[in-house]
């Protein structure tokens, strides 16, 4: 039975990592290929073996193995090096804050630095890892868990905190989808997917340049330039199906993210009535109720000069705003502009009708 490719590759990778770690100087492929038996004993043409090495090196770099490439005397970048200090986890030490000044000291076998964490720093890192594990992204959870496991080699990492619980629920029926998007983000590759536009209840194939991935309140969203519309849009990941990453020219980015793009500016929750492409209108609402939930709603508006009971709102989606106001029925009602007041009143009448009409 022929050895399976995955196992062969794993053994080749580990042999390559060890071969490079053992060399103190950067070396050309021919100098260390004898230390990696699958290269040394291959019956394939030398160019083919070199290509296998190049692929292994790129895949290990994608994994996070810091193989350094430098130029030889001819100016050709074909010298390779993996420094233990860059590759291995430094020794970690838990110290009191007062001791931090003297935290770095050399060690032997392997010679690595020692890094000191204060208890507060370690506590935050552990909490950060637990938080990342709770966001419903299996890949993110795996990365966070692995980071904590490495830290646990040297420092005490407590188990999950029983006094804190975060519930965000499953994000997608396909646990691989966020992983696919993540890889496309980093390689700057276009993604294609069927999207359920829930407002129109339609399913359309979308072609998007993913610029960022945002977890907001309860869901993951892709922020990206939709190619057909050439506009920046937000897509909820749970509404995507049949996602594919552009496979053409896998080593070449499909697009560049504009330097002016600030992902945090888009990571803001908006009320439904603030969304849309239309013009905004100003709606004035009069508040009569005093309960806390009424005050919270009033707090989303701006004061109106000379009318302390009134608040004004910049509204883009009038239907959504009318529904939002409906839940405050009896405690708040719109007073301007007249067209919106009529819209809201018509909504009240239709709702009354659903309950058997006015008496």
């Amino acid at each position: 039975m022929p050895p399976d490719r995955s196992s062969q590759k794993l053994r080749r990778w580990i042999d390559l990592i060890v071969a490079l770690l053992r060399r103190r100087q950067a070396a050309a492929f021919d100098e260390f290929k004898g230390d990696v038996p699958q290269y040394a004993t291959s019956s394939a043409a030398p160019e083919s073996v070199l290509r296998t090495f190049e692929r292994d090196k790129d895949e290990l770099a994608a994994f996070g193995v810091p193989i350094e490439v430098s130029a030889d005397q001819m100016g050709v970048r074909r010298l390779y090096r993996l420094t233990p200090g860059d590759f291995f986890l430094p020794y970690l030490e838990l110290v009191d804050a007062e001791q931090v000044a003297a935290r770095k000291r050399p060690r032997t076998a392997p010679r690595l630095e020692t890094l000191a964490f204060t208890p507060d720093e370690l506590d935050l890192v552990v909490r950060a890892g637990r938080r990342a594990q709770q966001l419903g992204d299996p890949r993110l959870a795996l990365d966070a868990a692995n980071a904590l496991r490495k830290i646990a080699f040297d420092m005490p990492v407590p188990g999950p905190d029983a006094t804190e619980s975060v519930r965000v629920g499953p994000q997608h029926e396909d646990p691989e989808i966020l992983d696919q998007i993540d890889r496309a983000l980093r390689a700057r590759k276009i993604i294609l997917f069927d999207y359920h536009s829930i407002a129109r209840d339609s399913h359309e194939r979308r072609e998007v340049e993913p610029w960022g991935l945002v977890f907001l309140a309860r869901h993951w969203y892709v922020l990206g330039n939709e190619r057909a519309a050439q506009s920046l849009k937000r897509f909820r990941v749970s509404r995507m199906r049949d996602l594919a990453v552009n496979q053409k020219a896998p080593h070449t980015p499909d697009f560049a993210v504009p330097p002016s793009f600030d992902i945090s500016a888009y990571a803001r929750w908006r009320q439904a009535w603030e969304l849309g492409d239309g013009d905004t209108i100003e709606v004035v609402v009069r508040f009569t109720g005093v309960a806390n939930h009424v005050a919270e709603a009033a707090g989303l508006g701006l004061p109106v000069a000379g009318a302390p009971a009134d608040r004004r709102y910049e509204v883009r989606n009038t239907d959504a705003f009318a529904r939002w106001l409906l839940r405050l029925t009896g405690d708040a009602c719109p007073v301007a502009p007249p067209a919106f007041v009529a819209t809201w009143r018509a909504l009240v009448e239709r709702t009354v009708a659903a309950y058997g009409g006015a008496r």
């Binding site: 794993l10 994608a62 291995f88 692995n146 490495k150 519930r167 945002v214 749970s238 990571a267 309950y355």
Partner: protein, 332 residues
């Protein structure tokens, strides 16, 4: 990466934890190693065997020079070169940084400096990736723009009471709370024994024993006007208490609802509701949901926000309350 590369990468990730755990040329129980890796004994044993099991003419490589000894449930590795774990990979570092960015939104301004220090410290624990050269590092991040961010914000900043409540829990102290419930017109003052905090349905909640009510209560943190840690009053969390007990149907509820709010959502909005609620779809596409009902006033507001697209089917008193509220507006 292709499937074989993905499989190999997953095994490499596990082995770069398992091999350092076998440091010292002494036998280790397989379940100890499995605990370090966070995988089953079977998976870890299979990974280790993959390294040394060769088929056909495949050469031994690095593992020809070392010995991996399996003895029943024990394993021993001699001449281990990979005796330290690999530093945090870029994706592992990003995961921790994402969590730190979220925590930065939840701490006091004074503690924000500590988050920054933790961020700087964890960056030193990561592998030092060489300067990027995309043609040499296919698959590596091509530019430094942060591609991910996360926030629990849902319209307003993280409640300032969150770090204070956490402090009370960590110190095992009671807290004095001024609370403004959704339907209340004035704040109430209570002494509580904090048991934990929960993030659910887009909001943070404090789960605590309320000494005034003599029962467990749940307080939405953004409705706490003021909280003070009572440093000289200890509060113990009962051993039998579990936060899971207050999370019902994915929501934070202090007690089982005594009643059911049954609402029929019209076909036009059914798909939105079905995204986050469990219910039954009717022949015309309408969606009927049984919500736990704790307070009628909440039920009226909940139904009204959908206008004519949501109709309360039961209980009858809530149905009448909705209609009455609307008729009042129309002057009926």
């Amino acid at each position: 990466m292709a499937t074989s590369s993905n499989d190999a990468a997953a095994q490499l990730r596990r082995l770069l934890l398992a091999l350092p755990a076998l440091e010292g040329d002494r036998p280790y129980r397989l379940d100890e190693i499995a605990a370090v890796v966070g995988e089953s004994v079977e998976t870890v044993a299979r990974d280790l065997r993959t390294l040394v099991t060769r088929t056909g003419d495949e050469p031994g490589g690095f593992f020809e020079r070392i010995r991996l000894l399996f003895d029943a449930d024990k394993v021993q590795l001699q001449a281990n070169v990979l005796s330290r774990p690999m530093g945090l990979t870029p994706s592992e570092l990003r995961a921790i940084e994402l969590g730190l960015a979220m925590l930065a939104q939840e701490v006091t301004p004074e503690e924000a400096a500590l988050v920054e220090r933790a961020r700087a410290r964890i960056q030193e624990v990561a592998v030092a990736m060489p300067e990027r050269a995309p043609h040499l590092h296919a698959g590596a991040e091509p530019d430094p723009i942060p591609a991910r961010t996360a926030s629990f914000h849902s319209g307003s900043p993280t409640p300032p009471s969150l770090p204070i409540v956490r402090e009370a829990i960590a110190d095992g102290c009671k807290a004095h709370v001024r609370y403004l419930a959704a339907d209340a017109e004035a704040e109430s003052e209570r002494v509580v024994r904090p048991y934990g905090v929960v993030f659910s349905s887009g909001s943070w909640y404090l789960v605590a024993f309320c000494e005034m009510r003599e029962d467990i209560r749940i307080f939405r943190l953004d409705r706490i006007a003021q909280v003070t840690v009572l440093v000289d009053q200890a509060a113990e969390i009962p051993e039998a208490f579990s936060l899971d007990d207050v999370l019902k149907h994915g929501r934070a509820l202090a007690r089982e609802a005594s009643d059911v709010l049954r609402i029929r959502y019209a076909p036009a909005i059914a798909r939105w509701i079905a995204e986050h609620e469990v219910g039954e779809t009717e022949a015309d596409g309408a969606f009927v949901v049984n919500h736990p009902l704790l307070a009628d006033r909440w039920a009226v507001r909940h139904a009204l926000q959908y206008g004519p697209a949501a109709e309360v089917l039961a209980p009858q008193r809530v149905r009448e309350a909705v209609a009455e509220r609307l008729r009042g507006v129309l002057g009926g």
